[in-house]
């Protein structure tokens, strides 16, 4: 009786393990589109973040983003967009440097960036305070 119980328990275990969802081999890690450093949050707010694909004369389209920041006090800002293709790999642009900007109290500034290649499908915008 005990032997049958153990056998049933084992088979149920094996059956359940077979039913369990298998982790995807290439599961992509969730990436934030907007990363704002705490020092920046203290002085300004990102009021909008828009994206669109610009149709190109050759038939392709290019990802373009626009974001706006509104400052609560005069502040310096450094920003950078990293572009990714459908596989999540970085699409290289001109350089790696952060672009610096100054925002005055109460001012809303708009910034735009276009992807370096039509294969860019996603992005990450990083806002930080220049040291």
């Amino acid at each position: 009786m005990r032997f049958v119980f153990i056998a049933v328990l084992l088979s149920v275990g094996v059956f359940m393990a077979g039913c369990a969802s298998q982790p995807e081999a290439n599961a992509l890690i969730e990436r934030q589109e907007l990363k704002v450093d705490p020092e920046v949050i203290y002085t300004m707010t990102v009021t909008e973040l828009l994206e669109e694909r610009l149709p190109q004369p050759g038939g392709e389209s290019l990802l373009q983003i626009q974001f706006a920041v509104e400052a609560r006090s005069d502040a310096e800002l450094a920003w950078k967009v990293t572009w990714f293709d459908a596989s999540g790999l970085v699409v290289k642009g001109v350089g790696d440097a952060y672009r610096k900007a100054s925002v005055l109290t109460g001012q809303t500034r708009y910034f735009k960036a276009a992807a370096p290649h039509a294969r860019a499908t996603s992005y990450q915008l990083h806002l930080r305070e220049p040291k």
Partner: protein
């Protein structure tokens, strides 16, 4: 005599210890001091803005498909510094090449070909020393469609106790078939600093 030598050696060692050690700078995270002269960050800013705008405007997208062929024309250096304008144009060329929309010819240039080997390799034609099947045939070189030209300007001003140095990086992309500028851009780079800083 020995005492003097010892003092001298000790001083040299102390000074050597005080000097700033040489270190690498990561261009992706460089918040180092800004120079009044144009540095690599200025060229990167100008190139990024130019390429961003060129791509977004669609000026470098060939409506017939395929890639445009670009030639780098004259980039005039109207600053007080000795600038190799390739620092700017190379970044633009690399980015446009990576975009898959533009390829630059090195076979044509205002002061001769950038890579003279294109023509030199053709001098091997009819040479009995070379297997002629591998020698470049006539009529294979591609003529450019677009020309990149521009100017870098510098203006100095005295602002109170400080000096202001203004650089303007102006670029034009001309369609060689029509002579029309398909794209134009200007990136101002303004720096304000001590009067004692030199901008040349």
């Amino acid at each position: 005599m020995l005492k003097r030598a010892l003092i001298l050696s000790a001083s040299v060692l102390i000074f050597a210890g005080c000097s700033t050690p040489t270190r690498y700078v990561d261009p992706a995270a460089d918040d180092g001091p800004v120079a009044m002269t144009m540095d690599y960050r200025d060229f990167e800013k100008a190139a990024t803005e130019a390429v961003d705008d060129m791509l977004a405007s669609g000026a470098v997208s060939n409506p017939n498909g395929g890639r445009y062929i670009m030639v780098v024309s004259r980039i005039t250096n109207d600053t007080m510094q000795r600038i190799d304008t390739d620092q700017l144009t190379k970044k633009i060329r690399v980015a446009l090449l990576r975009s898959g929309k533009v390829v630059t010819t090195t076979a044509v240039g205002l002061n001769g070909a950038e890579d003279e080997m294109t023509m030199r390799a053709r001098e091997l034609r009819n040479s009995e020393e070379f297997d002629q099947s591998g020698v470049q045939k006539k009529g294979t070189l591609q003529a450019p469609d677009l020309s990149l030209s521009g100017k870098i300007l510098q203006r100095n001003h005295k602002v109170g106790d400080e000096q202001q140095v203004e650089y303007y990086i102006q670029l034009s992309l001309t369609d060689l078939a029509s002579g029309l500028a398909f794209w134009e851009g200007e990136t101002p780079i303004i720096k304000r600093g001590s009067n004692s800083s030199v901008s040349w």
